[in-house]
Structure formats: structure tokens, C-alpha cells
């Protein structure tokens, strides 16, 4: 199994693990962690595509894109965390509650 194949399949698996965590969890912080895992999966795919041709030096353009992506991911995480903390401060809730379907409230 070549290096590219291994890492690209791993990146798809990471993306799916992150996606499942993002949808399934209700706690805000867990959603943020899941989002970061998804981002890491995408970056892994980009860099393994850059490394596909083993004879040459790694392609620098996807490297620059991933560097930009890491900084954007941390900005997004910082803003999301500030929002989550503010929500917790104002309402006291830390998770997105599901709307319970009640027959008599409609």
C-alpha cells in the first residue's frame, strides 16, 4: 500500500469521524472539537495529494493552502469558543437541546 493511499484513506476516515461527532453530539465544545478533527482530515488529504509523486520534492502549493487553513481553523475555533462561553454565561446551557415533540403543545 503506497503512502498516498494509506494517508488519503485515513483522511477520509478522519473526516467521517469528525462529521459524525459534529452531528451526533449535543454539547457545544464537543461539536467544536469534531469540527477541528474534520479540518485535520481535509488537510491530511491535501498534503497527501501533494506527496503523490515520490520522485520530486513535495508540491509547495497545497502546503501553503494547508498553512492558511490551520490559521483559519484556529480563528474559527477561537470565535466559536468565545460564542459558546458567552452562551453559557447568559443562559447557563452548554448544549443544544433537541425539541421534544409533544402532542399537546402544537
Amino acid at each position: 500500500m503506497s503512502q498516498f493511499l494509506l494517508y488519503s484513506l485515513a483522511s477520509v476516515a478522519l473526516f467521517c469521524i469528525g462529521l459524525h461527532g459534529l452531528i451526533a453530539h449535543r454539547h457545544l465544545l464537543r461539536k467544536i472539537v469534531a469540527m477541528n478533527v474534520m479540518a485535520s482530515g481535509v488537510f491530511l488529504l491535501l498534503v497527501s495529494i501533494a506527496r503523490r509523486n515520490q520522485d520530486m520534492v513535495a508540491d509547495p502549493v497545497p502546503h501553503a493552502m494547508v498553512l492558511t487553513g490551520i490559521v483559519v481553523a484556529v480563528s474559527t475555533t477561537a470565535f466559536a469558543l468565545a460564542l459558546a462561553r458567552r452562551i453559557c454565561l447568559e443562559t447557563g446551557r452548554v448544549s443544544i437541546e433537541e425539541e421534544e415533540e409533544q402532542g399537546d403543545t402544537q
Binding site: 503512502q3 494509506l6 494517508y7 472539537v33 513535495a58 502546503h63 498553512l67 453559557c88
Partner: protein, 82 residues
Amino acid sequence: MDFDQLLDLLLVTALLGVAWKALASPDLFKAVVLFIAFGLLMSLAWIRLNAPDIALAEAAIGAGLTGTLLLDAVRQMSVRQE
């Protein structure tokens, strides 16, 4: 299977395992610490893929700063709930 391939396979297994545990762990603090470990393993993966610039940035920003931000938020939110 030579040493390089074995190393890659072990690294990928560790990455996926730590990511899964980080998202499935019931304790929030443990989940964030596992996420920091995940970031450091990603750093190793970048080195294996010949991307030293990204490895430096991931270790500092991805694991370090994001981990610090998350730990701070976990502490504040768990204090709030008590």
C-alpha cells in the same frame, strides 16, 4: 513490509484511534486532552509526508493554541454548571 510502511500504518492507526476516543469519551476534560494528543500525532504525520513547515505550525497552533483555548473553555463551563 519495510520499516517506513510499518511506521505509517502504526501512525495512521494511532491517529484514527485517538480521534475516535477524543470524540467518544464521556469526560470532557479527557476528550480535550486526547484532542491535544491528536494534534501532536498529526504533527508526526506531517513530518512523514515531508511537510516540516506544516508540522511546526500544527504543533504550535493546532495542538498548542487550540488545546489551550479548549481547556480554558472546559474549565469555565464546568465551573458554571456547578
